[in-house]
């Protein structure tokens, strides 16, 4: 027999005030999520002095949605394994291939291996895609805010938007210390506003993301029905950006956050 909550709970119970508890938008395939697959490194592209993109052939990859992540596993000769979550950078329409963009984390045992030892032909293991929470299938206007390598899952969304020729509104605010540390700098178009916190080209302001950059997107540029907001970056950045969004009127239950560090 199928039971629902109402079968067993009394009326008048707690109703979450923020209605954050929406189920995932995207159904996750449990079968795919449980399966480890071999991924063969085919190409390494330098993005910035500290970040590179690693392209893999994964012939059995079932596809993903922009914003989803995977788990990656490395194995040492003595059987020790290390696994990490990484956002997928590539668009879904890249049959049999996925791309990850990794920062070289100081002392990082997985990112360290990628940045100092990995070369085309090397094999690692991946499972996924995982989690439907941060995914964006391209159906609703999306306001993306990222910092540093937090732009990675957001770039998958922009690439998807472009590859499919979608017309649904899409905007990206991306923060980096300076132009040389702006990941995917060559790929941005009119949808993107970069924010430089330490060093900026002549004539551009230096400083962190401000209300004056967020508020117009929620007023003048607000699409009918409003935005789905996706925030990704360090915890400090995510706290800052999500508070700016709330202050500018974005409903808290339409802000999705991925934090790292």
């Amino acid at each position: 027999m199928t039971r629902t909550t109402s079968d067993t709970t009394a009326p008048g119970l707690f109703v979450p005030p923020t209605r954050f508890a929406v189920p995932g938008r995207i159904a996750v395939s449990n079968r795919e999520a449980a399966l480890w697959q071999t991924a063969t490194l085919t190409e390494v592209r330098r993005e910035t002095p500290h970040a590179s993109t690693f392209r893999f052939a994964v012939p059995g990859w079932a596809g993903h949605l922009p914003g989803q992540h995977l788990m990656l596993r490395l194995r040492a000769e003595d059987g020790y394994t290390a696994q990490r979550h990484y956002s997928i950078a590539s668009a879904p329409d890249d049959a049999g291939h996925i791309e990850l963009t990794l920062d070289h984390v100081e002392g990082g045992e997985v990112s360290g291996w990628f940045h100092t030892l990995a070369e085309p032909g090397d094999e690692v293991e991946v499972r996924g895609p995982l989690s439907g929470f941060f995914a964006w299938p391209g159906d609703r206007p999306a306001l993306l805010i990222g910092a540093g390598s937090g732009v990675v899952p957001l770039m998958s969304m922009i690439r998807h938007h472009r590859a499919r020729g979608l017309t649904v509104p899409l905007r990206l605010l991306v923060s980096a210390r300076g132009p040389e540390e702006l990941i995917y700098a060559r790929e941005y178009g009119a949808e993107t506003t970069p924010v430089f916190t330490r060093r900026a080209p002549e004539g551009m302001p230096v400083g962190r993301l401000t209300a004056s950059q967020v508020a117009p997107l929620l007023a003048d540029e607000r699409p009918p029905g409003g935005w789905e907001a996706y925030v990704c970056g360090s915890n400090a950045f995510a706290e800052h950006a999500s508070r700016l969004l709330v202050s500018a009127g974005q409903p808290v239950d339409r802000i999705r956050i991925e934090r790292f560090g």
Partner: protein, 212 residues
Amino acid sequence: MNVTRGFTGRPRVLPHSPEGVGGAPIAGLPPGQYDAGDDWPVLSAEVTPDLTPADWSFRIDGLVAEPHTWDWAGAHALPASAYEGDIHCVTSWSKFGVRFGGVSLDAFLDVVRPDESATHAVAYSHTGYTTNLPLADLTGGRAWIAWEYEGRPLAAEHGGPARLLVPHLYFWKSAKWIAGLRLLDHDEPGFWEQNGYHARGNPWEEQRYSGD
């Protein structure tokens, strides 16, 4: 799986841990985890709420003899209970020897008296986040409502003023900004569980995703 060419991993032998010699796992570190050291990453999917102790309340209802709601003072009137040990996040970091202060969940459950038919609970947060747990994982001195970390008030980004603490399961089960528990006679997936994560989340069995 084949060995990853050139990958050795971090040094992982504890000085007083013979079982750590030769690359065997560090005692206390579940499979697939690494020691985060002093770091305590923040991983919440929602906006951190502005929730003061005066705003906070905690309710237990559902299959209980007497539903009850505690406010900050009422919860603090229960006997204090601390946890000192390790915590494990599904994203693969673990933290050794952390200390939380609060009240054992047993003390709260004694007040509401769960029905014999209650087998599971849904924990929910003041943000609306939910996570499901077998009732057996919440009783017997294995779960707490925690409001102190290392002797200080729990920070908002880590779930302060108060969070659920179920340290023997992956930490997404330890709902931040805990608002209540609803006792049920069946399992009902919560937020991450509906997003592909495992129903129980035992780190020692690597129950990360549905199907593990």
